[in-house]
Every structure is written in structure tokens, then in C-alpha cells.
């Protein structure tokens, strides 16, 4: 063996990963080895890797349990870190942390997306003084993530555990893809919870992938297999530019999967009857271009990326089929984050509004529905990307504001013929204004009075009247909605808005 061969043989040895029994277990569980994950994620034929000899003098500690490097996805350069669960359960030692910090700094310097392939048992407590508290220790990973946030896309693929401090890696990413049955996120394990607070729980209940995607909102996409998670990341990245000063790539336009001419039939004219907003979305976006984000969380509001005429848009849509499309604390949370994501990376926003307003009642007031709603309205206000709001049906009260009504610097407020804009619905409004009069009246007289006042109310908010007062910018026949959106998003592409100089606002959270 000559000197070159000797180096290459050492590298090959390290690339094997951890002990055979751990490697066999990964395969037996139907999961991919870390290098198999990278092979599927990255374009073939290009790649550089740093620190492969990290802790190389420590037998069985291949690359110190993390692979960091630069690769390409769809021909675009990206940086990545990937835990190797076969080496000390993917745990963090001092070199692991330093390698992660360096690749994050490289991503910042190159201004390219940063991907985190996480599968780690957490910190090695035995090494804590060399990797936990200091300037270039674990905390710096999260500091770097915050500095990278909004500069370049950050994507987390959660294949296994991300425990305790490690759980903050996904928490600071733009998007977290979780593999059901394997991915988990928790600050304290069930064993620790039982010891410290006396609670008996399971890993799945406390920190499982499905729980996080349905209940806590820490997960964005739930998938069944490692392969699916990787494919989702490749797909997701196609909607994004490399960094905040670029725009998403324009793709060839395709017709919608379903006929836009059918739109009028799927929107019920009775405002109180629900329908499925996804049926509308499918008829205005390019076929198979819709990638729903947080599909299982706060389902009364839909968020997702799509293309309309080849251009990427972020969609924020009421879902009348779930809880009437009413906004709750979680839906406001979901919308806020998605709007901030799109605005950070020059993705225009499309609002599809059919909303009876924010939920009322003592339960949601105690949850702080006002500050959560304020947070959503704050994000809508701050977003300076092109914004189009389509009033699909009713928009009542602060629902109009949260769905980017005219006052929120929408480039256009478009109304479908079923649009209905008011402080509240006619039933509630007439009751509020004429309450004393109504209780004075009896029987038929009362019914007639209420009917007449409601009619009067409806005439007052007639759509043509709102258009003549320039409240809405256009009334669009449903069959023409897609063309209208294509023209407008193309026209608004050069939009540039500068906000007044300040350090930063004080966002309600």
C-alpha cells in the first residue's frame, strides 16, 4: 500500500461509521445509514467534506459522530451537517460541536442553504466542560442558527431523537421534517420526567413526531420513511432562493390539476355552510405544485407553498371545513411563522379569506387570543413582499385585518362575487344594534322588523357598493381568478418597499 492508498484506506475506514452491531440495527429498523441519507439528498458527482479525521485517534469514534460538508441539490450549493447514530448514538462531543459551528459559518460566508440531518442522543455529559458552556460550545450552534435565520434557508430533517439542548436545532430551523416512529424532540426524557416531576408518559406521547406535527406545532411535515423525508427536503428547497437577496426560480407554468371553470360551483353561496378550501387551491395553482406546511396542525387555517404560472407563492387560506375557518391561537401562530418565512425569502403571499373572525369566549381569551391575533396582524403588516388578498366569502371583523385586508398594504384586494366584508354577519349585527327594540316587539312584528333590518344591512355592504367606494380593487369572476393572479403576481414582481429606519419592532408574541 503506497502513501496515497494509505490515506484513502483510512478515510474508507472512517466512512464505515460506528461498530457493526449498531450499523446492522439501523438497517434492521428500515432506516438509512447516514451516508445513504446523504447520497439520496445530494446530487451525485460533487461534494467536499471537512473534519473527517475528527477524533480519528479515538478508535471507533468515526468523524466524531457528525458529517459536515458542502454538496449540491438540484445543481445548487448547500451546506449540511448529519449526525451518525452508529457512532456513540450520534451524541455531541467537543469536535462534533466545532464541526457543526464551522459548517454553519461556511453557509453564512457562501450564503447558501444549511441543512441539519439530526439523529442524536444529545451531549456527552462526560465531556461537558469542553462542549457545553463556552464561547464555541453547543450554545453557539443555536446562536449561529439565529444569525443564519432569514439569511439563508435552514432545513431540519429529524430522523431520530433530538433530546434536551439538541431539541433546539430543529426549533430554530425554518422547517422540520419528522419521520414517524423514529423522530422525537423533548427537553427531558420520560425517564427524567418521572424522576423529576413524577409524571409517567411515553416517548411517543411526550415527544413523538406525530404529537409535534399535530399538537405542539414543533414539526412541519410528517413522513413515514427516511427516504420520504429526504425527498421532501429536495422538493421544499426548490421554492426558495439561496439567500434573502435572491428570488425563487421561475419554473415552467403548468395548468391546474382541476378545472378553474368549476370554481363557482364549489363555493357555497350560503355563508354559513362550510366547503373545502383545498378544492379551490387545486383549481388556481399549477398542477401538483402545492406543498402544504403544517397540514396536521391548526387545520382551520391552511399554509403552503405553490406555484401560479410558474411563480412561487406562499398561500395563507381559511379552511371553512375545519372549525368553520375561525382563527384560534394556534392558527394565528401557524400563519405568523409562515408569513415571516415567505417574507424573509422574497416569496409573494396570497391570502384566501373566508373567515368568521377570531374565536371568542372565555377559553380563548385566557389563552391570549388578542395577543396571538396581534402577532399575526403584525406579521402581515411587516411583510413587504407582493401581497394579494382574495375575499372568497365572508370576512368579519379582525379576520379582515389578519387576512391582509386593504389597510395592510395589500397590493390588491380582489373580491369573488360571493365576497362579504363586514364587522360582523347580519344576524349578529342587527341583534347588536337593535337589541332593545327587538325585545320590545312581539311575534310577526318582530320577525318582520329583524328581516327588514338584515336586508338593509346587506344592502349597505353590497359588493358593488364596496367596489365603488374603492374598498376592493376588483371583482373577479371565479373562472378568471387564476389568470388575474398570474397577471398580478407577474406585475408586482419588481415591488420594493423600504420600511422606516429603526432597530426592530416589538412584536407581540
Amino acid at each position: 500500500m503506497n502513501a496515497d492508498e494509505e490515506i484513502l484506506a483510512k478515510i474508507e475506514q472512517i466512512k464505515q461509521g460506528g461498530p457493526e452491531r449498531y450499523r446492522e440495527r439501523v438497517t434492521a429498523e428500515g432506516r438509512l445509514m447516514v451516508r445513504e441519507r446523504l447520497a439520496r439528498l445530494l446530487d451525485p458527482g460533487f461534494g467536499v467534506e471537512d473534519g473527517i479525521f475528527a477524533d480519528a485517534t479515538d478508535e471507533g469514534n468515526a468523524a466524531d459522530a457528525v458529517i459536515t460538508g458542502i454538496g449540491k441539490i438540484h445543481g445548487r450549493t448547500i451546506c449540511y451537517m448529519a449526525n451518525d447514530a452508529t457512532v456513540k448514538a450520534g451524541s455531541w462531543g467537543p469536535k462534533t460541536v466545532e464541526k457543526i459551528l464551522r459548517i454553519q459559518e461556511t453557509a453564512a460566508n457562501l450564503r447558501v442553504p444549511m441543512l441539519y440531518l439530526v439523529d442524536s442522543a444529545g451531549a456527552r455529559i462526560t465531556h461537558q466542560v469542553d462542549m457545553f458552556p463556552g464561547r464555541r460550545h453547543a450554545g453557539r450552534i443555536f446562536y449561529n442558527e439565529v444569525m443564519l435565520s432569514g439569511l439563508v434557508p435552514q432545513i431540519c430533517l429529524l430522523f431520530g431523537p433530538s433530546a434536551a439542548g439538541g431539541a433546539y436545532i430543529p426549533a430554530f430551523c425554518d422547517i422540520v421534517v419528522m419521520v414517524e416512529g423514529h423522530a422525537s424532540m423533548y427537553l427531558g426524557s420520560p425517564r427524567m420526567a418521572e424522576m423529576v416531576i413524577g409524571e409517567k408518559s411515553t416517548l411517543e406521547e411526550m415527544g413523538g413526531a406525530r404529537m409535534h406535527c399535530e399538537v405542539s406545532g414543533c414539526g412541519d411535515l410528517l413522513v413515514q420513511r427516511d427516504e420520504e423525508a429526504i425527498d421532501a427536503a429536495r422538493r421544499y428547497l426548490q421554492y426558495f432562493p439561496d439567500h434573502c437577496d435572491n428570488h425563487p426560480e421561475i419554473m415552467p407554468a403548468t395548468d391546474p390539476a382541476k378545472n378553474p371553470q368549476e370554481l363557482a360551483q364549489i363555493i357555497p353561496s350560503n355563508q354559513n355552510v362550510p366547503f373545502d378550501m383545498l378544492d379551490l387551491i387545486e383549481r388556481i395553482v399549477d398542477a401538483h405544485s402545492f406543498l402544504e406546511i403544517k397540514a396536521l396542525f391548526a387545520k382551520e387555517l391552511i399554509t403552503g407553498l405553490a406555484r401560479i404560472g410558474g411563480r412561487t407563492v406562499g398561500i395563507v387560506a381559511s379552511q371553512p371545513k375545519v372549525k368553520g375557518g375561525v382563527l384560534f391561537v394556534d392558527s394565528a401562530d401557524k400563519a405568523t411563522r409562515f408569513i415571516a418565512l415567505c417574507d424573509a425569502f422574497n416569496i409573494p403571499l396570497l391570502f384566501l379569506a373566508d373567515v368568521p373572525g377570531f374565536m371568542i369566549g372565555s377559553k380563548v381569551e385566557r389563552q391570549g387570543i388578542i395577543r396571538h391575533g396581534a402577532k399575526m396582524i403584525y406579521a402581515v403588516s411587516e411583510a413587504t413582499v407582493p401581497k394579494i388578498s382574495v375575499i372568497v366569502r365572508k370576512v368579519y371583523g379582525a379576520g379582515l385585518y389578519a387576512m391582509c385586508g386593504p389597510a395592510f398594504n395589500a397590493d390588491a384586494t380582489l373580491a369573488l362575487p360571493t365576497a362579504y366584508i363586514a364587522v360582523m354577519g347580519p344576524e349578529a349585527a342587527v341583534n347588536a344594534v337593535y337589541y332593545n327594540k327587538i325585545i320590545e316587539l312581539q311575534g310577526e312584528e318582530r320577525e318582520r322588523f329583524v328581516r327588514e333590518r338584515r336586508e338593509e344591512y346587506r344592502r349597505d355592504i353590497d359588493l358593488y357598493k364596496l367596489a365603488s367606494h374603492l374598498i376592493v380593487d376588483a371583482i373577479v369572476p371565479p373562472s378568471r381568478l387564476r389568470e388575474e393572479l398570474m397577471s398580478r403576481f407577474a406585475a408586482y414582481a419588481s415591488k420594493q418597499v423600504t420600511s422606516p429606519r429603526k432597530r426592530h419592532g416589538v412584536m407581540p408574541v
Partner: protein
């Protein structure tokens, strides 16, 4: 025992099933009225209705049990 709980605060507008009925997952079982909207509540499993815990016109809070299934 499996229960169907109210997804949000509102009034029971219509009960679409009664004790003993067989329901399938995804079937509308109760219509609530809340925020002036009709809110359909669906069964999430195939089961038989063991008990109906509410009547039409009553207020239910989020999480209130509407039906017991078996």
C-alpha cells in the same frame, strides 16, 4: 371506550345519530353552531354509538364529550 369531543365552544345544532347507530370514520355525527357557522363533527373511528351525552340546543365547551362510542 372511545369518545367524540367538541372541537370548539358552541351550541349543539343537530344530532345526526342516536344510541345504537353504527358510524364509520369520517361520517358527520353532530352539527354544532358556533361563530354563526355550521361546524360538522365527524367520527374518527368505525364504531357503535354507546351514548349521546348532549341534546340539541345546549352549549358545549371545547373538549366537552358529545358521544361515547364502542
Amino acid at each position: 371506550m372511545h369518545v367524540i369531543a367538541s372541537p370548539m365552544a358552541g351550541t349543539v345544532s343537530r344530532l345526526l345519530v342516536q344510541t345504537g347507530d353504527v358510524v364509520t370514520s369520517g361520517q358527520d355525527v353532530v352539527i354544532l353552531e358556533s361563530m354563526k357557522m355550521e361546524i360538522a363533527v365527524q367520527a374518527d373511528v368505525d364504531a357503535r354509538v354507546k351514548a349521546v351525552k348532549v341534546s340539541e340546543g345546549v352549549f358545549v365547551d371545547e373538549g366537552s364529550i358529545l358521544l361515547e362510542l364502542e
